[in-house]
Assembly symmetry: C2
C-alpha cells in the first residue's frame, strides 16, 4: 500500500499539501495540484478510508435503512439512492429492518433493531442516515438523535427529522377524482394493511384522500367498498375477489393503494371473467415498471427520483454541517399516468 508520504516525496511537497490537493481544497496552486495528482496516479495511491475517517471524523459513507427489500418500490428507491451516493463518491451501507414475522414485540425489543440503533450506528460508521418508511419508537429516536448526524426520513413522518414524502392524501384524491371524472360512483378502495410493518400513516392518508374525494363529489362512502391487503399482488387479488364476490356492493372501479395490489385486482377481475376496464376500472399508485405491461393507470410517484432527492438533501446537510436543520416535510411530485385499465363505466342493467 502506497501511503501519502510516498506521494509527497514524489511530488516534492509535504503530506499536508498532498492531502489538500487530493481533497480538492482550494489553497493549493494549480501547478502543485497537477503535480500531486500525477504522482498519486503514478503510484496508484488511494487514501486509506480508515485513516482518513479517523483524522477527519468523516466516513464518506451513508447508511440507508429500509424495512423491505423484496418489493419493487423499495428497491427502486434504493437504486436511486445508491446511484446518487455513488455519483458523489459516497458508499451506501444497507441496513434491513424487517420485523421478524409474527413477532408482536415493540420495535425496540427487536434484536435486529437494537443491534442497529445501539451498536452499528454508534460506531461512527456513517456520516448520515436515510430512513425509508421508517417508524421509530421514542427510544430508537433518542439513539438516532444521540448520533448528532444528519438524518433524513423518506416516506414516513419522523418527529424532529426533516422528511421527504409524497402527499398521500393528494395522490389518493387524484386517483379517486380520475375515476369520478370518468363517471364512476361505485368506487372501491383496496388500502394497505395498517398493521403492516410499514409506517401506518400511509394507508390511512390514502384512505382519507379517497374518502375526501368521494365526499367532495357528493358520493356516499360505503364501508363495504373498502378492503385492505398487504401491498402485494396476491393481496390485491384476494381483496378483489372478495369485493367482487360480495353481493352487497357493485363496484365499477377500484382504487388500489399500490400498483402491485392493482395488478392483483386486474388478474382477479379477469379470473372472474370480468373485463378491465369494461367491467372494472383499476387504478394504482407507484409507477411500477410492470405498469405498462398490464396497461395499468397509475399515479407515478417516481421512486428512483425519491431516492436521489433524499440523498441530495442528506449530502447537502453533510456538507453544510448544520447540526439541526428544520425538521419539516417536503412534498415530492407525483403524476397521473393514464393507460387502459380505466375508462367510463359501462351502463349496467340494475339487478
Amino acid at each position: 500500500m502506497t501511503k501519502i508520504q510516498k506521494v509527497a516525496e514524489l511530488a516534492g511537497v509535504s503530506t499536508a499539501t498532498v492531502s489538500r490537493a487530493l481533497a480538492g481544497k482550494d489553497s493549493v496552486s494549480p501547478a502543485t495540484r497537477v503535480r500531486v495528482e500525477a504522482a498519486a496516479k503514478e503510484l496508484g495511491y488511494v487514501v486509506s478510508a480508515a485513516a482518513s475517517s479517523l483524522a477527519s471524523g468523516r466516513t464518506r459513507n451513508v447508511g440507508v435503512v429500509t424495512p423491505i427489500l423484496t418489493s419493487w418500490f423499495y428497491t427502486t428507491v434504493l437504486k436511486g439512492a445508491q446511484r446518487a451516493l455513488a455519483d458523489s463518491g459516497y458508499d451506501l451501507t444497507l441496513y434491513l429492518l424487517d420485523t421478524n414475522p409474527g413477532s408482536d414485540l415493540p420495535h425496540a425489543s427487536n434484536p435486529r433493531r437494537r443491534q442497529l440503533f445501539e451498536d452499528f450506528l454508534q460506531r461512527k460508521r456513517v456520516d448520515a442516515l436515510l430512513a425509508i418508511s421508517l417508524e421509530l419508537e421514542q427510544e430508537e429516536l433518542d439513539h438516532v438523535r444521540r448520533l448528532d448526524k444528519p438524518v433524513v426520513g423518506l416516506g414516513g413522518p419522523l418527529p424532529g427529522v426533516p422528511t421527504l414524502s409524497v402527499d398521500d392524501r393528494a395522490i389518493a384524491s387524484l386517483a379517486t377524482d380520475h375515476l369520478i371524472a370518468l363517471g364512476h360512483t361505485q368506487i372501491a378502495h383496496i388500502g394497505g394493511n395498517p398493521d403492516f410493518e410499514l409506517d401506518f400513516h400511509l394507508p390511512s392518508n390514502r384512505r382519507d384522500g379517497y374518502e375526501g374525494a368521494l365526499t367532495a363529489a357528493g358520493i356516499p362512502i360505503q364501508p363495504l367498498m373498502v378492503r385492505s391487503a398487504d401491498f402485494t399482488i396476491a393481496g390485491g387479488y384476494d381483496a378483489t375477489l372478495q369485493l367482487l364476490g360480495d353481493p352487497r356492493v357493485h363496484p365499477t372501479a377500484v382504487f388500489a393503494a399500490s400498483d402491485e395490489m392493482a395488478i392483483g385486482a386486474i388478474l382477479a377481475a379477469r379470473d372472474l371473467g370480468k373485463s378491465v376496464p369494461g367491467d372494472l376500472s383499476v387504478i394504482g399508485i407507484d409507477g411500477h415498471e410492470l405498469g405498462g405491461f398490464f396497461g395499468l393507470t397509475t399515479i407515478d410517484q417516481h421512486p428512483e427520483a425519491q431516492g436521489r432527492r433524499a440523498v441530495d438533501v442528506l449530502l447537502a446537510e453533510i456538507e453544510s454541517g448544520t447540526a439541526k436543520p428544520k425538521p419539516d416535510n417536503t412534498y415530492l411530485p407525483h403524476d397521473l399516468v393514464v393507460r387502459k385499465s380505466t375508462s367510463s363505466p359501462t351502463p349496467v342493467s340494475s339487478d
Copy 2:
C-alpha cells in the same frame, strides 16, 4: 463520545485489556471481562470503527456487488447476504454495477465500474467482496486481485476466485425431464437473453441442459422452439406470444429460464385463450415468491440461502486469513417444486 480510556479507568484496567475484553479474546480473566463489560455499558461506550480499523486493518464491512437491484432474485440474494452479515456483526456496503443502458463499451470503460474497482474498493473500506452474477474483465480482475482480500463469486464463474452457484445444466435438465416424464415431447424453451447484462454462461448452460435432456430422451431439438427474452415477465410474455403464434411449432409445454418469464408465459397463454396446464404446461426456475400465487411449477434455487451461504464462505475466509483459498466452484442445492402449471399433455387432434 466516550473513548476506551474512560472505560479503562472505570474498570481499573489498561486500555489494552479493555480492547481485548471487548473483542472477546481469551487471555482475559472472566472477572475482568465482566468488569470491563459493565463499565462499557455504563458509559455507553462503542468502539470507533475508524480507529479500530486503522489499527487492526479490519473493517467489519463486506462489499456486495450486484448487477441488478430491481429483480426479485437479486434482492432476495441480497437479503440473505445482509442478514447473514448482520448476524455476524458485519456491515454490508452495496455496489450497484448496472451497465448504462445502450452503452456497448467494454466494461472496463464504464465509469461506474472504474470508480468501483479503481477507487472505492482500493480504499480498504471492505474486508471482502461478494460478487453476484458478475463477469469481470481482465483489468477489473487484476484490480480485485490487488486488493488481496477474500473474494467470492456467486452465480458466475470468476477465474481464480472461489465461487458458489447452482448447477444450471442440472437444473435445466431436471425441469425438462419433469416435462418429459409427464409425457411432453413438444417442449419449448424461453432462455435468458445472452446479451443481457448478466453473466452469459447462465443462459447457455440452461439451454444446454434443456437440449441434453431432450436428446437423452430421444426427442429431436427444434430450433424454432427456442426463444430468448430478458428475464422479465414482459419478456416471457412476448416470447410466448410469438411461440404460440408460430404455425411451424406446436409446443405443449414451455420451460422458461426464470420464474418471471414463466409467469409471463402463463399470462400470455391465458390471453390467447389457452389454459395452463391444459393446453400448455409451464415450468420456471427460481422459487419466486409469486410462484404459489400463479400455481407455478418451478425449480427452487433458494436465493436467500444462496446469499447466506456466500457470506458464510466469505466470513470463513476472513477469519482464517487464508490469502488464496482454492478457486473452485461449489454447487448449491435446488429443488423441484411441483404446482399446478404442469400436467400431462392433453391428446390433440393432429391438424
